[in-house]
Amino acid sequence: MADKVLMKGNEAIAEAAIIAGCKHYFGYPITPQTEIAAYMAKRMPKIGGVFLQAESEIAAINMVYGVAATGHRVMTSSSSPGISLKGEGLSYLAGADLPSLIVNVQRGGPGLGGIQPSQSDYFQATKGGAHGDFHMIVLAPASVQEMADLTVKGFELADKYRMTSMILADGTMGQMMEPVALDYEIAPAPEKPWATVGTKMAREHNIVNSLFLAPEELERVNFERYERYAAIKENETMYEEYMMEDADICVAAFGIAARVAKNAINEARKQGIKVGLIRPITLWPFPEAPFKKAADKVKAVVSVELSMGQMIEDIRLATECKVPVSLCNRAGGMIPSPEQVLEAIKAANNGGAK
């Protein structure tokens, strides 16, 4: 067991990425994730890696595309407006089946928005994020330790399924400091016989490509990709349940919202309300099973979000509208207080019965 060190969330991501074997980082400055780039700028030259400040988010994601095509582990990080700029590249990475890790330390939007924490890129992250049929594996850390753990996990899943993993954090997660243990057993990355590293005149040429002009062929690659997605749904869905065994009310929250919700749940329990939490750790694939199960047991679900209500739509689908689902939210960079969540739990407990 390694000693714990006190780290900022953004720094924990950067160091965990290096431990996971990522030697290539490309980024463009944007608040509140810049510590990742600053950390990489210091560390990468010391370990024989590459840190390069790109001329734009668009260039950064395309540098990622280039490294990913060679089979090396590679990442970029940004914050909400910057992720929008990376959208084109995310679609190409998906179309060419290239593995990569993308970090979004979210801030309030839309537009230039603000620089305070937000979860309002949930739709963008979980529903594809750009043109075409595709998904990313979306991981939502709720502690600095998870910022690191899910970074390592993200690289492993990206390689395993040849796709992009996204860490969907928020400004709070990026900026706050907590003790972290960084003791990982890193499994060797899988063989990548598809990588474009030169034929060495020993094989047919490899082609990294997302262009399929014949509709039958493009349909086929889409169906094949969704078979992989089905396997991910089956095998990689992650969530945490907290006090759900006897719960009458289910709170749903991820990231920083889940930590606020736990405080409110503890207080509600003291007041005799049986309430629990489902915390999705993978936002895509969304943990449908625990919500489906909860829908037959609880009388209401409360979705706590730092947005105008985005995850709530997936909860309604997973619970098949069997129970009322209410929204407890702040937006624009504001964070719900435990008191606000407690009020929402009480309201659901009083009025949520069918």
Binding site: F26, L52, M63, V67, V197, M201, H205, N206
Partner: protein
Amino acid sequence: MVVFDKPNALADASMHYCPGCTHGIVHRLVAEVMDELGIEGRTIGIAPVGCSVMAYNYFNCDMIEAAHGRAPAVATGVKRAEPDSIVFTYQGDGDLASIGMAETVHSAARNENITIIFINNAIYGMTGGQMAPTTLPGQVTQTSPYGRDVNHCGFPIKVCEMLSELDGPEYLERVAVNNVKNVKNAKKAIKKAFQNQVDGKGFSLVEVISSCPTNWGMTPKKALEWIDEKMIPYYPLGVYKDRTAAKEETK
């Protein structure tokens, strides 16, 4: 005795280019250079969106298809990850000088050790003949049907001249492929642009003045003449930057 053969680096595929298009000539020159330098096995080519997007079918080296304009950024990633590889991009004028201008300028400024083959035919070919950043003043295209009006949509961009103001690039030359003499010069320039990369010298770009008979609405022969009459006067051929030669001169 074989006096003329297909280069090994050129795939045995029928190309989709229009009759009279000069892409085929430039593809051949790039492949000949790969053969002559013995680099095919460690070369990775990058073809972004444009008429040459399917170049991945025409070269036998490893190939990457890239988003419109982004090839120099993709090439940066490949080269930084695999420094011993030889990386080239093959880009058209809309790709390199319009949507991808930032990637072009910054890869040049960083002196990325890559080779760029820049096809300037003054038009967007793949989408059917729209105005390009290099379309000549007065030139009629689908989106400049009354001729390019410089008061309305500005002037063509002279890429070699513009990049030559940067401290970064190693080598910039403009060539043409409209007659035998010019094709021979183009071959020399392309070979130098690859040799520079092999020698670790840095960013080398060859702008190739090319024809697009289909979208220019000309016969192939007339299109080649039009290069001499209209294109070359506006885009003079020659070396715009050669840092190694400049250093040798000052010795």
